[in-house]
Assembly symmetry: C2
C-alpha cells in the first residue's frame, strides 16, 4: 500500500490498520517515507484523531523504532512518572530517589526544557559534574546501586519520536492528542517499566489550559498505557501558579534537596508524596495508598531518600560538595499594596524566567543555570505593601529589567479573601 | 512570520493574508520553505478550505512564481478553454483552430494524460513530427500565422504549481477545491489571455462524480477567473459516457480531423461548437451566442478551421501526409443481446484503454499512440445481438484480453427505452 493511500484513509476519517501504522512508522524511521508524507499524515491525524487502538498501535510502532530496555535487566518493580510540563516543576528530582527508597526501581528518562517549561535534565546539569548521558552499563549500575537514575534520551530510544517531534514543531501539528500520547508513551514504554504515573498539568502555565482538555489527554494516556499492559494512573494537577517557591535550574535543585531534607514548600512536598504513593501502589508494593504514603513520609523523615539522591548524583559524576551555581545579583520584586495574593500567573513567571536566561527559545540556545526566581509568594497568602513577592536572581541587568516588567503583571493582590486553589484536581484510572 | 505560524492559522480555520500566501508560495518555489511544510499546509487547506479572496491570492502567487506571457505580444483577442478531464475528450484539438478561424487567438498550454484521463499533448504527438515544446519565438510565430498553438507547459510557467502538483499527488491532497482552482487558473492566467471558458466534467469518467461537486468547482473557477479580471464561463458537461466514438491517441486525432471536415460524432461536434461560441462571445467578437455559433458553423463548413489546423501542425513540425499510427490488430466487442444501450461506463472504458497501453499509470510510462477503441456505441442507441459495441485496436494480445474483460462490464443493454443523456447540463457565469 502506497503511503499516500494511508494518508488518504486517515484524511477521510477511516481507521488505519495495525500493519499500516507499523509500515508507515518503519518507513518514516528508515527514511523511505519522506517528511512531507509524515507531515500530511500528522495534519490529517490532527483533524481526524485516532481511535484508542490506533493510538496504541502508533505508540508501539514508535517504541519499536528503537531500542527497548529489557525489563529483566532491572530486578524489582519498575515504575516511572511523567509530567506534561509546568513552571517550577522539579518534582521528578526528589520523587525518583523517594520512590527508590521505598523499594521500587525508577529508570527515568527525562527531557530538556523548551519555551517556558523547564527541563529536568537542565536542572540536574546545574549540579557540578552531573552527566545526563550514561553508558548502558553505568545506567544499570546506577539503578542497581541507587534504585533510580535520571538520564537523557539516547539516539537509540524512539528515533521515530525524535524525528516526528521535530517535524510536528514546524508543521503546526503539536496539539493533537494521539500524537502527544504516542510521543510520551512510546518513550516511557521503552524504559521497560511495569507501571506509570502521569502528572497532567492544567492551567495558565500548562499546555492544557482547561480542565476538560487535560482530562481528555489524561484519559487517552491512561487508556494507551493500560492497553499496552502497564498499570497507568494520571493525576490532574493545578498549573495556574508555579509549583513551589523557586523557578530556575539551580534554585529548583536546592528546593528539591530541601524536600528530601523533609522540608521545602507544602505544594511540592504534597505532590511529591502523592505521586510517590500512587507509583508505589501501582506496582503493588503496598496494600493501599495510605500505607504507601506513610512509607514515603518515613523515607523523607529518616533521610533515606536524600541518601539515595546523593548516591545517584555521585553515580552520575556529580559533586554536590561544590555547591550550586549562584547568580551575581539579586533584587526583590516588592508588593505595591497590602492584601491577599489572588493570582501568580505561571505563564508570565515562565516567560520572565526565560528572559532571565534560564530556558531556551530554540533547542540550540544555552542556558544560565544560576538565574531565576526564589521566595515566590503563593496564591492565597497575605502580603503587605513593600513585602517581596519574589526575589530575582540574575547576571544581566538588562535582562532583569525586562523580566521585572513582565513580572509586575504576573501577581495580582486583592482586598477580598482568597481561597488557596486545589493542587490535585482528580485521579484518572482505567 | 514563521511558516508554521501560517500553517497554524489555516489549521485553526483563519484566513491567510495576501502577503502570507505570497510569502509561503515564494518560499516554497525557491526552496526555503520545504516540502513538509507545504504538505502540512495543503492538508490544512483540504480540511479548512479557502475563501474566494485567498484562492485568488494563491492563484496569483502561483502564477507569479514563473514567467507570465506578456499579452501585448499577441495582437488580438485571446481566449482559451480548459477541461477538467474526461474519457475521449479531444475537444481542444478541433476547438482551437475553429475559434482561431472565427477571429480570436488561442494560446493553449495543454497537459499530458495520467491515469484514465488522456492528454491533449499525447494525442497531438501521435501526429508524425509534432513538437509540443516550441521556443518562445516559434510559439508567437505560430499564434500569429495560425491563430492558435497547442503547446506543453514549460519549466518557466508556474514552477510552484509543478512542485505542488507533484507533492499533492503523494500526500493525498489532490481533491481540494482551492488547490484545484489555483492549479488550473494559475497556468491559464499565465497565458496572457483575456477570457477563459471551462469545461467542467461530471460523471463516472470525471474527477467530479456528482453534479453538485462539479457545480462547486465550476463556481470557484469562475469566481477566481473573474476576480483576476478575466471573463470566465464554465460549462457543466456530461462525462458518464466517453465523448465521441473513439478513445485512444491517434484514433482521437482522426476523429478531431473528422470534426474539422464538418463531420464526426454529434456530441463532439455539438460540444466543440458550444465551447467555441462561448469563447468567441466572451471576448466580445460577436453580439450574442447565436451569432458566434453561426460563425463557427461556417468555419467548419468552409474548411477554414481545418486549414488553420493543418497550418498549425506544420508550424509544430508535424506531417499529416505520413498518416496516423495504426494498431496491428483490431477486434470487435460484440453485443450479447438486442436492445437499447443503457450505459457506456466512461470509467471502465478509460481503464480498458489504459490497459491497452494508451495511457500512463506513472508519469514515466511511455504510451502506445495507436491503440484504443473506435466505433463506440452511445447511450440511447439501438443494438442487435452480435453488433459491435466498439472495436479494439491493439498491439498486444494479452493486453487486449485484459481490456476485453473490463469492457464487458462497461456496456449495459436494456429492453426498456432509454432517453439519451443531456450533454451540457448548465452554463455557470459570474
Amino acid at each position: 500500500m502506497l503511503p499516500q493511500w494511508m494518508i488518504e484513509k486517515k484524511r477521510d476519517g477511516l481507521h488505519l490498520t495495525t500493519e499500516e501504522i507499523q509500515t508507515f512508522i518503519r518507513g518514516y524511521t528508515d527514511g523511505t517515507i519522506p517528511d512531507y508524507q509524515m507531515a500530511a499524515l500528522a495534519m490529517a491525524i490532527y483533524f481526524r484523531g485516532m481511535s484508542p487502538r490506533e493510538t496504541a498501535d502508533l505508540t508501539i510502532a514508535m517504541m519499536e523504532s528503537g531500542t527497548v530496555i529489557d525489563p529483566t535487566r532491572i530486578p524489582g518493580r519498575k515504575v516511572d512518572k511523567h509530567s506534561t510540563g509546568g513552571i517550577g516543576d522539579k518534582i521528578s528530582i526528589p520523587l525518583a530517589p523517594l520512590v527508590a527508597a521505598c523499594g521500587a526501581k525508577v529508570p527515568m528518562i527525562s527531557g530538556r526544557g523548551l519555551g517556558i517549561t523547564g527541563g529536568t535534565l537542565d536542572k540536574l546539569e546545574s549540579i557540578h559534574g552531573y552527566r545526563v548521558n550514561l553508558s548502558e552499563k553505568e545506567f544499570f549500575n546506577t539503578l542497581q546501586q541507587c534504585g533510580c537514575s535520571l538520564i537523557g534520551q539516547t539516539d537509540e530510544i524512539c528515533p521515530a519520536d525524535k524525528k516526528l517531534y521535530a517535524l510536528r514543531d514546524v508543521t503546526a501539528t503539536v496539539p493533537s492528542i494521539p500524537l502527544i500520547v504516542a510521543s510520551i508513551m512510546s518513550k516511557k514504554m521503552a524504559e521497560g517499566i511495569d507501571a506509570l504515573v502521569l502528572d497532567v498539568k492544567c492551567g495558565a502555565g500548562a499546555f492544557m489550559k482547561t480542565r476538560k482538555d487535560a482530562q481528555t489527554l489524561a484519559k487517552a494516556l491512561v487508556a494507551t498505557g493500560e492497553s499496552l499492559g502497564r498499570k497507568t494512573t494520571a493525576l490532574l494537577t493545578n498549573m495556574d501558579q508555579p509549583l513551589g517557591r523557586t523557578v530556575g535550574n539551580s534554585l529548583e535543585i536546592q528546593e528539591s534537596i530541601d524536600i528530601l531534607n523533609n522540608n521545602g514548600p507544602d505544594d511540592v512536598r504534597q505532590l511529591t508524596l502523592e505521586l510517590a504513593a500512587h507509583m508505589l501502589l501501582s506496582v503493588n508494593l503496598f496494600p493501599d495508598l495510605d500505607a504507601a504514603r506513610q512509607r514515603a513520609l518515613t523515607a523523607l523523615a529518616d533521610g533515606s531518600a536524600l541518601h539515595l539522591f546523593e548516591n545517584m548524583v555521585q553515580c552520575h559524576g556529580g559533586d554536590l560538595s561544590q555547591g550550586l551555581p549562584r547568580a551575581q545579583h539579586t533584587v526583590p520584586l516588592e508588593a505595591r499594596q497590602t492584601g491577599q495574593v489572588q493570582e501568580v500567573n505561571a505563564d508570565l513567571i515562565g516567560r520572565a524566567v526565560l528572559l532571565l536566561g534560564a530556558g531556551r527559545t530554540q533547542t540550540t540556545d544555552t542556558i544560565d543555570p544560576a538565574v531565576g526566581l526564589s521566595d515566590l509568594v503563593k496564591t492565597g497568602e497575605e502580603v503587605r505593601s513593600g513585602d517581596p513577592l519574589c526575589i530575582l536572581h540574575f547576571n544581566d541587568h538588562n535582562k532583569a529589567k525586562e523580566a521585572l516588567e513582565l513580572l509586575t503583571d504576573a501577581f495580582k493582590i486583592t482586598n477580598k479573601p482568597v481561597t488557596p486553589p486545589e493542587l490535585i484536581y482528580e485521579i484518572i484510572r482505567h
